[in-house]
Symmetry: C2
Subunit: 477 residues, 2 copies
Amino acid sequence: MSEEKLPKQSENFSEWYNQLIARAELADYAPVRGCMVVRPYGWALWENIQKALDTRFKQTGHVNAAFPMLIPMSFLEKEKEHVEGFAPELAVVTIGGGQKLEEPLVVRPTSETIIGYMYSKWVKSYRDLPILINQWANVVRWELRTRMFLRTLEFYWQEGHTAHETAEEAEEETRRILDLYTDFAVNEAAVPVIPGIKSEAEKFAGAVRSYTIEAMMRDTKALQSGTSHNLGQNFAKAFDIQFLDRNNELQNAWTTSWGVSTRFVGAIIMTHGDDQGLILPPRLAPIQIVIVPIYKDPVSMDKVMPVVRQLEKSLSQFRVKVDDRDNVTPGFKFNDWELRGVPLRIEIGPRDVDNNTVVVAQRDIPGKAGKLFLSMDNLGGQLETILVDFHQRLLQRATEFRDSHIFEAKDFAEFKQIIQEGWAFAYWCGSTACETGIKDETKATTRCRPLDQKKTDGVCIYCGQPAEYKTYFARAY
Amino acid sequence: MSEEKLPKQSENFSEWYNQLIARAELADYAPVRGCMVVRPYGWALWENIQKALDTRFKQTGHVNAAFPMLIPMSFLEKEKEHVEGFAPELAVVTIGGGQKLEEPLVVRPTSETIIGYMYSKWVKSYRDLPILINQWANVVRWELRTRMFLRTLEFYWQEGHTAHETAEEAEEETRRILDLYTDFAVNEAAVPVIPGIKSEAEKFAGAVRSYTIEAMMRDTKALQSGTSHNLGQNFAKAFDIQFLDRNNELQNAWTTSWGVSTRFVGAIIMTHGDDQGLILPPRLAPIQIVIVPIYKDPVSMDKVMPVVRQLEKSLSQFRVKVDDRDNVTPGFKFNDWELRGVPLRIEIGPRDVDNNTVVVAQRDIPGKAGKLFLSMDNLGGQLETILVDFHQRLLQRATEFRDSHIFEAKDFAEFKQIIQEGWAFAYWCGSTACETGIKDETKATTRCRPLDQKKTDGVCIYCGQPAEYKTYFARAY
């Protein structure tokens, strides 16, 4: 870590983001344009995200599998909207084992096509349904403008692909996953997301209906943080996923797909971070508690270190690190772990040993106000409560920030103003023409229409025609 | 599962293997030549392998990260032996986003080069060493003759890449991992492997020294099941991984790499399987215990099922599945789960409910001899012991099979005979000429020279010249 200060969020959010990722050693630039190396600290965060999601997938009856990364080019062409959406972004293998390939192979940008092909082999009868498969995989999309975690040529994700007997079951699954993602974001990452439905223009290439969870970053831009798609029978028809139903009649299956990617790491950084660096939500933080021993000489070191090691052992229910570096000062260590967003820091000096106490600094409350002076007795129990409160504070802070940056617009002049400072929640007639007009004039896109909204009588913020629903508009990553 | 019987191992081992993988739903053929789809049952087995290895990596101080899959072609050319070894097997991306790329990108066949490049950026001082990183990844090698799990174009593995201050530390790491792999194979998979050192001809392209764990399959062929390479300073020199040492002098780092892949699934299938199908080692089996309820009518079903569900709950420390299918008979279920290699089957019928007992069938002991009649009281505790014994029996059976198929050859005529029936353990002078001669005449390759062997005075089985060590020779996958 360099001694230089991070740029302030308020001065240059983009530089703050880039430098923070480098200094906290979350990721580094790869020698191939637009690719990233996820470093151990960043990957440990992703592994905790994986565990939290995977547990939820398995609890809801899903199983993992692995499908090939290389897909025949002809597969993508079978679903018209799908190929139009992905063709410009493909990486293509044309040479294998020194020979030009007869049919080029695409590095998967997503796997609906090859999984659809396999499902058509596996599904014969309604008894073979539902299929509830997820895979953890890398995918490649040839993006021109890239950004660490948010948009990289290669990224990591989970992609769920399910097949069902009826339209209703497919819709239920799509919504079940949307709820699962919302629960994960709120209760693991303390990221207050707004679940909703995407517009026709913003939906997945090949889907009938796309749902999303949208989060507000601290520069007020929106980040799409997970999506769940009802694919109807589009892919079943393209890939012949057919089955004999309960009446012995041949039917096309109904399929869904859904994903959360390493982009979510970006959501965590930009939802919680501050001018000092990262603030990691405790349930996902690779290190929940760092212990910094304080001593000035070998005598006090000999007094402090055995207690530190004992404490480390007694806190084994947490992810704990002891910072025993001998070439940097405690002050340097404090800054370092603040930058890296570790939720709690325990300081122990000789006097603490005498008093059977520790000082606990909370990352989200700067200075003395955040310091707790605790007895070492039942310290684990106390810290559990403190971490629960920490999570709640992060969630509340992010929710308040978000809610104070969403405004209802009464006319388009106000709308344009709002978009500079936050999200607009406004009536929209639903036409792609208005959506495009708004985007061209303000750079704002439709983020989602919330699901619990009742029909009302309004007028479109852009064209003034009747509009039944309000939609969130924002500049987005 | 089809009703047809598997081919017998003794009649057609290769067909036994292929059909078993399909019928047990471990994997399926992908639409791209030489690629496989790992189905949920196969992937669950791989996930358990991953957990067992990953825990061991973390216990020995390693951390995970992720490096890009696409590598500039020029990187591979920096290490002469490396590029010679891998050039014929590369898949090459030449088009990205619709444009021909200026420099083609290789889909990683292994990641020494790109990781070496990153390490050269991260390592400045001896204080930055050691770096102990592992990644779980997919890699692609354009193989001509492929085989499910054993040799596929794309496969899954972990690849560890470490950098050290001294030659001694690099060698220690290489050997530590060899021990770790041996421990994993024996104590998790019940696969008795022989650790040893590879010959010059068989070592990794770019390594100074390669270690291996070698296992004997039930057709007596050898399977290389994991490798650990001491790369010396070869990659450090090629990629400028240099650091200031404790005397403030610039040095090249010493690096290692090591890997276990989905090939290990093949090792498990072919070490333990029999004519009835898979036998999975209990510590890695996706399902350790299957419960099959036995009833003939709704009345006995109502009697049996609540007890089955209660039992399922009380055995939550195991991976348990209740087979409650209502469209197949218990006999069909028995065969099905035997094929899939589930270690224990619990049968519960109405009489068992009355007697507070269950019948437990052990997969590795056919017929009545393997059946245990147990009280439901403390069933979990009893089953734990039974599974420990199961593991031990598998290991013992595999060890005995292996040891009874390894022979010491007194001359080359005998050697040729032995190679048809097992492995030969024979003096070899160490020359590549003899190794090639033996391979040409017998199809046997050197597998490894065991590490604990003392120098003795022998003569080479092929050329008759002096030879100090014996080496294992076998036909291999």
